[in-house]
């Protein structure tokens, strides 16, 4: 059974333009459509009557590129757990629902247009040490570095972060600690990451603070909204590494 939905969508022409919620009717929506396919259809209909389409970030539509970034009914990526908004389907809604769609809201993520925000701050954090300093060529045989399976699995749990920013959008403090901790945690659990472990923690945390992200006060909203279910334990591990780094003067 197809549904009629009333959308309340944030529209904002540009970074400096004022924005507002607009009401757009989305009728005859199939429950098998994804949320973004619903928006595609709404956009086609808007363009047909000469209204510019709603701008939103999206790309792979498989839940892995981290581009899509909508707050749906107050929840980053919408109501389903462990789901990016591109994987959210309209069967999660019912006929007659009002659906509120907003961009990520955080001081460090300024709006570019409508539902698109600028996440360059994430880039600068990754550039501040989110790597292992090796050059291409000359690495030892891949099996020369042994990694116990449980450690590799934990590193992979952290590495599955897609860098979407839902953690920031859902945190009352606009904190990016889960995002930062995921990268620090990945390397902290692997032998390859040890030489730069504490310096990396210190630099990335300091860059995070410079970018204007808030601090963690244990609301756990980030973990709840993370589409890849990156566990919050990485934040406490990061904090330990950061303190050690400060004490060691790294």
């Amino acid at each position: 059974m197809n549904m009629n939905i009333t959308l309340h969508v944030w529209r904002q022409k540009g970074p400096d333009a004022p924005g507002r919620m607009e009401i757009i009717q989305a009728d005859d929506i199939s429950p098998d459509m994804s949320f973004l396919e619903m928006l595609d259809l709404v956009n086609e209909r808007l363009e047909a009557i000469d209204i510019e389409s709603i701008a939103f970030d999206h790309d792979c539509r498989e839940g892995i590129c981290g581009m899509c970034s909508l707050v749906v009914n107050g929840i980053a990526h919408g109501p389903e757990s462990a789901t990016t908004v591109c994987q959210l389907h309209m069967r999660s809604f019912k006929d007659g629902d009002a659906v509120y769609i907003e961009p990520w809201r955080a001081r460090a993520f300024p709006v570019i247009r409508d539902l698109i925000v600028d996440r360059e701050a994430f880039e600068r954090i990754q550039q501040a040490g989110g790597y292992v300093s090796i050059n291409c060529g000359g690495s030892p045989d891949a099996n020369a570095i042994l990694v116990p399976k449980p450690e590799a699995d934990t590193a992979m749990d952290a590495a599955s972060c897609i860098g979407c920013g839902a953690c920031v959008a859902s945190c009352p403090n606009g904190s990016a600690m889960l995002f930062v901790a995921a990268k620090i945690g990945q390397f902290a659990h692997l032998p390859q990451g040890q030489p730069e472990r504490f310096r990396r923690a210190r630099r990335m945390v300091e860059q995070m603070e410079t970018e204007g992200f808030g601090a963690c006060t244990n609301h756990f909203e980030c973990e709840a909204s993370c589409p890849k279910e990156v566990p919050i334990k990485f934040i406490s591990e990061m904090n330990r590494d950061f303190i050690k780094a400060v004490l060691k003067g790294e």
Binding site: G14, S30, D32, M33, S34, E37, D40, L41, E44, E47, E52, S53, A55, D57, D59, C60, R61, E62, G63, I64, C65, G66, M67, E80, Q87, H89, I112, R113, D118, Q126, Q127, A128, G129, G130, Y131, V132, I134, C136, G137, S139, P140, D141, A142, N143, L146, V147, P148, K149, A152, D153, A155, M156, A159, S160, I162, G163, Q186, F187, L190, Q192
Partner: protein
């Protein structure tokens, strides 16, 4: 025009070693004086950008997403091949080379494929050193699994997210170079033209997607790594933004386009469910390690799959190809699925009178053999994704899958050094044509992207600079050079033209119509009648686009409708070339299956006498016309045989 592959002399095993010694070098102190433009930040572009920056060159990387980490390489799931032979099951560089040439149905270059196999091991070393969390055995060593077209386990993986982890590895090396000041990123920036000066590629024209600013960027060399053109079909497993514009603009400026009709239709995708669908989702080929593919024996059997007894099921891949079974190459598996659906044995819901469009991929036997926990550990995230999209639980009911457009083996023509016929223009990864012939094997795209970026371009691009470019400031081309101003002017005029069509049809509706033409006539099955029909429909649709498309808004803002319009305009030309190429290639090979050229058992029938060559198309003018050239393929090490997986 002549297309000389410049393959080094000597025995196959020594070619790359010899080539590397012959390549010229740039002194470390002089490298900062050379500016390199890289377009695309995926596995090929990202790894090339970081590696060239590591060497000390001044690298500038352009991409349309907001971060290099979002390039579509990230969506690759299953794994990456390397000839490590860790499982001691008989693998070697030679075997990987042989499997890849055979898998490509003998339409790729021996020397390129051998080099790919040769560097595959170094790729793994590099990726592990970067801190990529690959799957491990309890002893701490790397784990392997099997992929189609191989009888060894040579595929390394990180859960079902191998592409993501490899890309994040390249991204971390990339970030290190940005941190050091050797590499500059240009996010949300699309390359819309290439600029040639004295016949050499010397820069690009870009549009800033946020502000609409048209910018001129001059450099000593241009590297394109912008992926494939599967989105010409509208529905594919590509990301929504994947497009052919960079490659197509280069083609229009003289770069040859090779084997455009070679498209890979991937056998394990989630079937199309509605007319509003925006894309198709891949289920990793790795699932065929443990999943068994079947349909009901009886046509039109619409019982629930669990009610169909064992002896009324047709495990058609195991039946037709006993030695490879469910792990036959992609083209073979896709065609076999279509054959069963065409015979009326397809499964799934009724779709507005359309034929049932799925086959089952069943894990019941694997769950019984291994336990649910092991299956979940191997494929958990894929099962989850399947359930999210279809609302069915694959632990309990078999998955429904169907082939979908996934990868394009064709692309810009390059020589052994990955340089196109425009000097100074290098093309890497899926955007080039060189390594996969008429069909790509699973887990080979990641391998090729990284081989090109980490190991090949990092040696051949400096050679070009040492030979052809000058480090003297007074010899550098300025972005104010007349060639740049002319290209910028032409681009602005094109944008104005797009914005002033002011017709009735949305760009998406035209793109969808193009997709249908291509699916119907240039998809899994092709024949002369259909292709000739498509060659009439496509130019007509192109006229419709330029006279009746509706592109709203203005250039000076974030205008997604304008972005799309430019890409679709290019698809409308490329589609025609694909059909032309498919029509000219009077044989079946790999993913290119001409109904007129099949064996009685329905397998692809090659014509080695007439078609053991690369078809290279030269763009000959604004009235959209091409001239066809050939690069002959010489097989000195592998004997051409009929591919058999029986």
């Amino acid at each position: 025009m002549k297309f000389d592959a410049k393959i080094p002399e000597g025995p196959l095993q020594d070619k790359w070693t010899k080539a590397k010694f012959d390549l010229k070098l740039v002194n470390p102190a002089n490298r900062r004086k050379y500016k390199i433009i890289v377009v695309g930040s995926g596995l090929a572009g990202g790894s090339a950008a970081s590696t060239l920056a590591e060497q000390g060159f001044d690298v500038h990387c352009f991409f349309y997403q907001d971060s290099p980490r979002r390039a579509h390489s990230i969506a690759a799931q299953g794994g990456i091949n390397a000839a490590k032979n860790y499982p001691n099951d008989g693998d070697s560089i030679w075997r990987l080379f042989y499997d890849t040439v055979k898998g490509g149905d003998y339409r790729s270059r021996e020397a390129n494929v051998y080099r790919l196999s040769e560097v595959s091991n170094a790729i793994m070393d590099q990726c592990v050193a970067q801190g990529i969390p690959f799957a491990r055995e309890y002893g701490g060593q790397l784990d392997n699994r099997s992929f189609g077209g191989a009888q060894v386990s040579r595929t390394f993986y990180a859960r079902g997210q191998t592409g993501q982890q490899l890309l994040l590895g390249a991204y971390s090396s990339y970030n290190r170079q940005v941190d050091k000041g050797n590499l500059k990123s240009y996010p949300r920036t699309e390359m819309l033209d290439i600029v040639k000066v004295d016949g050499h590629a010397r820069g690009i024209i870009t549009r800033n997607l946020v502000t609409g600013d048209i910018e001129r960027h001059a450099a000593d060399v241009v590297v394109i790594a912008t992926g494939g053109y599967g989105n010409v079909f509208f529905l594919s497993t590509n990301a929504m933004g994947c497009n052919a514009t960079a490659a197509w603009r280069a083609h229009r400026k003289g770069a040859g386009f090779a084997n455009p009709c070679f498209t890979q239709i991937h056998p394990t995708c989630i079937p199309k469910a509605s007319g509003h669908q925006s894309k198709l989702t891949l289920m990793s080929e790795s699932l065929r390690n443990d999943g068994r593919v079947w349909v009901p024996k009886k046509a039109g059997d619409d019982r629930h799959p669990l009610e169909i007894p064992e002896d009324e099921r047709d495990y058609y891949l195991e039946r037709r190809y006993p030695s490879f079974g469910n792990l036959v190459p992609r083209d073979v598996a896709s065609r076999a699925a279509k054959e069963r659906c065409d015979a009326g044995c397809g499964v799934g819901p009724d779709m507005d009178g359309e034929q049932k469009n799925a086959v089952y991929l069943d894990f019941a036997e694997a769950i019984e053999r291994l336990g649910k926990d092991v299956v979940e550990d191997r494929y958990g995230n894929l099962f989850q994704m399947y359930e999210m999209i279809t609302d069915e639980n694959p632990y309990e009911v078999p998955m429904r899958i169907f082939p979908a457009v996934h990868y394009t083996m064709g692309g810009l023509w390059v020589d052994y050094n990955l340089e196109s016929n425009i000097p100074g223009l290098f093309v890497l990864g899926e955007a080039n044509f060189s390594d996969h012939g008429a069909n790509r094997l699973g887990a080979s795209a990641l391998m090729q992207g990284l081989a090109d970026g980490y190991f090949v371009a990092s040696a051949t691009v400096p050679d070009y600079l040492a030979r052809e470019s000058s480090m003297k400031a007074e010899d550098k081309i300025s972005p104010d050079h007349p060639a740049f101003l002319e290209a910028e002017g032409a681009l602005k005029a094109r944008i104005d033209q797009l914005l002033s069509i002011n017709g009735d049809r949305t760009v998406d509706s035209i793109h969808k119509e193009l997709g249908e033409i291509m699916q119907n006539h240039c998809g899994m099955d092709r024949d002369r009648v259909g292709l000739e029909k498509a060659l009439k429909l496509i130019p007509a649709l192109r006229n419709e686009f330029w006279s009746n498309a509706k592109v709203l808004g203005e250039n000076e803002s974030y205008n997604t409708s304008l972005e799309k319009a430019g890409r679709v305009a290019d698809f409308l030309e490329l589609a025609e070339l694909m059909c032309k190429d498919a029509l000219t290639r009077e044989e079946s090979c790999g993913g290119h299956c001409r109904a007129e050229h099949e064996t009685p058992e329905g397998e692809a029938k090659r014509d080695d006498e007439s078609f053991t060559h690369v078809a290279v198309w030269e763009f000959t003018g604004e009235d959209i016309a091409w001239e066809r050239h050939q690069e002959e393929l010489a097989y000195e090490n592998v004997k051409l045989t009929t591919r058999s997986y029986k």
